[in-house]
């Protein structure tokens, strides 16, 4: 199980980096999402994936005697997922607006010279 997750993480990071290096805005977005998911799985992996070992203590003991599934990484992932959900939602709307204004998907064409402000 660990080995499979490690391979998935590596694949996701590689695919994410490849996608954000492309010129297209949609691929940039997908790359960012893949990187976020890879990070989430990485944190999940670090919380000791063990089957049937809940972090519940025996009534007779004061400390854990055995390896247990750490609940904190799962709480962290939950937070990170919610955050990345909001960021992705914003990014999709932003890229859609940019596409409507610039009429191109190519990141190299985002070079309107700036004059007006305030």
């Amino acid at each position: 199980m660990e080995l499979l997750l490690v391979a998935v993480i590596g694949l996701l990071y590689a695919a994410g980096v490849y996608l954000i290096l492309r010129r297209s805005m949609v691929k940039l977005l997908l790359g960012i999402m893949l990187l976020g998911n890879a990070t989430n799985i990485l944190i999940f992996l670090l919380g000791n994936i063990t089957k049937g070992k809940p972090p519940v203590m025996d009534a007779n003991h004061n400390i854990f005697q055995d390896i247990y599934a750490d609940p904190i990484p799962q709480a962290l992932i939950l937070t990170a997922i919610v955050i990345s959900f909001a960021l992705t939602a914003f990014a999709i709307v932003l890229l859609k607006r940019v596409y409507a204004l610039v009429d191109t998907d190519d990141l190299d064409n985002l070079t309107t010279p700036e004059e007006e402000d305030i």
Partner: protein
């Protein structure tokens, strides 16, 4: 010492933002609430600062979960100082925004988002938990995305794409670092991490983890080679927004580097050299970029990058003198950079453009405003005895003691480049006659006197604080000295957060 008032700087902005959301589309109410909320925030920050100054580091365990198990908020001198500076800058920007931001943007919720941004900044400065720091960073960047795109002009959205992509990437790096750090230590509390990280046998893994943090914070604070998003996005939003970003957002990155690399990862020879190379190249590329820009705000964006290098170089040397230079520069930089972008906003109001060849004659038409701006420019350049001068003395001195002659050279080049671009800007914008073929679009002249005051007053406030920092440098040096001692000797921080557990084997 436990003190529940630590969270007041966070809650005041949350509260103000919620009340402003209730007053949706009532822009006058929102303006009053904005200025009032930031003013109360400033009072709270002053109170927190004096309390920390008198009583030492304060902390608060969220929901009474004892650290290292729960989230902990810590206010030491560095945090309290940063909160105070954020509140000063936030107060000034809120006053400026009440006329400097168009009504359309206010209708779409400029003020609530601005307060959420300040809330995130204060939270990031006060937290003592590394994952909580990540969450506050996300609060800051999502608010800054909205502020950056608010108004929806084409250039703004184009800048926002670059800004968004790089900042999300930075957060991903930061989160990966946190994940690995939790995997090897089993803790998220920064004080607890400081103790546990020393016990890790595989120190090279710790070194790699620290690089994740460095990349994450490096993108946020815009150091070489990770800064390219900054000059291509900071000139696009309205000046009040650019002032908040330029003054505060990059400095959160520097604060995080200072905090993480003084408490958790103590810089070794390799990290120090890496920091130093990055610092020198940041200064050089930033100053060369500033030399070729003719738009005032693009030039200021490159100056931000250049001056980030000064601070990073101080961290790279990691001696007491160098850190004093860094922290003094941080104080000076927040005040002056915020002011610079507000000034750019006023120039834009006065002349309708920020393109230097099309500007001119400001000194002839507005001598008093020009003199006020001149004071700010002088302190940016570091003319003694203004505020930019003192930290540079520290940085030069420590670089000589440390025999970092490349850094000395970069400091000289960076200072000269700053002097050159500012002198060039002064002669182009203020002394030169207005070019014949340019139509002057002076919106400022027709404004009501009250609105004129609202535009000039924040510059005056920030300028007087800068003057205070420069002319009363001995008081500031006392504060800086204490911050540096706390950064170099973290035992008081650990003692406050963890209690007696800190020194149990």
């Amino acid at each position: 010492m436990i003190d529940n008032h630590i969270l007041a700087p966070v809650f005041i902005h949350l509260f103000t933002a919620i009340v402003q959301l209730i007053a949706w589309r009532k822009t006058v109410t929102q303006r009053f609430l904005g200025v009032g909320g930031t003013f109360i925030g400033l009072l709270i920050a002053i109170r927190l600062f004096t309390k920390v100054y008198e009583e030492g580091t304060l902390h608060l365990n969220a929901s009474n979960w004892e650290s290292p198990f729960g989230i902990v908020f810590v206010a030491d001198m560095l945090s309290a100082t940063m909160v105070l500076l954020t509140s000063i800058a936030g107060f000034a920007v809120a006053i400026f925004s009440s006329t400097g931001i168009s009504r359309q943007r206010m209708l779409y919720g400029y003020f609530p988002i601005f307060h959420f941004l300040l809330m995130g900044l204060n939270g990031a400065f006060l937290t003592g938990d590394i994952f909580n720091l990540y969450v506050w960073f996300e609060v800051v960047i999502i608010s800054s995305f909205v502020l950056m795109t608010l108004g929806g002009r084409k250039t703004q959205l184009e800048g926002a794409v670059k800004y968004m992509a790089m900042n999300i990437l930075a957060s991903t790096f930061f989160l990966t670092g946190i994940g690995i750090l939790y995997g090897i230590t089993g803790s998220l509390n920064m004080a607890d991490l400081a103790l546990k990280i020393k016990l890790i046998e595989n120190q090279s893994l710790v070194g790699i983890t620290s690089i994740f943090f460095l990349i994450g914070f490096g993108i946020k604070s815009a150091v070489f080679p990770l800064y390219y998003w900054l000059p291509s996005s900071y000139h696009t939003p309205p000046s009040a927004v650019a002032a908040t970003f330029g003054g505060l957002l990059t400095k959160v990155g520097i604060y995080a580097i200072l905090r993480v690399f003084s408490l958790i990862f103590i810089p070794d020879e390799f990290t120090k050299n890496l920091f130093m190379v990055m610092a020198v190249l940041t200064i050089l590329t930033g100053s060369f970029g500033a030399l070729i820009k003719s738009n005032i705000r693009r030039m200021f964006s490159y100056l931000i990058v250049c001056h980030i290098g000064f601070m990073l170089g101080g961290i790279a040397m990691f001696t007491k003198l160098a850190l004093m230079g860094t922290i003094f520069y941080l104080i000076h930089d927040i005040l002056v950079k915020t002011n610079m972008f507000l000034i750019a906003g006023v120039i834009r109001q006065l002349r309708g453009t920020l393109n230097m060849p099309k500007l001119g004659g400001l000194y002839h038409h507005y001598p008093m405003i020009s003199l006020l701006i001149a004071l700010v420019l002088f302190s940016l350049v570091g003319i003694p005895p203004l505020s930019g001068f003192w930290p540079k003395i520290y940085l030069f001195q420590s670089a000589f003691f440390d025999r970092q002659f490349f850094f000395v050279g970069a400091l000289i080049v960076g200072s000269l480049a700053t002097l050159y671009v500012i002198a060039n800007m002064w002669s182009e914008v203020f002394w030169k006659k207005t070019p014949q073929d340019v139509e002057v679009d002076d919106k400022f002249k027709d404004l009501a006197p009250f609105k004129k005051i609202l535009l000039i007053l924040p510059i005056l406030i920030l300028c007087s604080v800068t003057l205070y920092v420069g002319l009363n440098a001995e008081n500031i040096i006392q504060v800086v000295d204490r911050i540096t001692n706390e950064l170099l000797d973290t035992s008081s921080y650990l003692q406050t957060v963890l209690g007696d557990k800190a020194f149990r084997p």
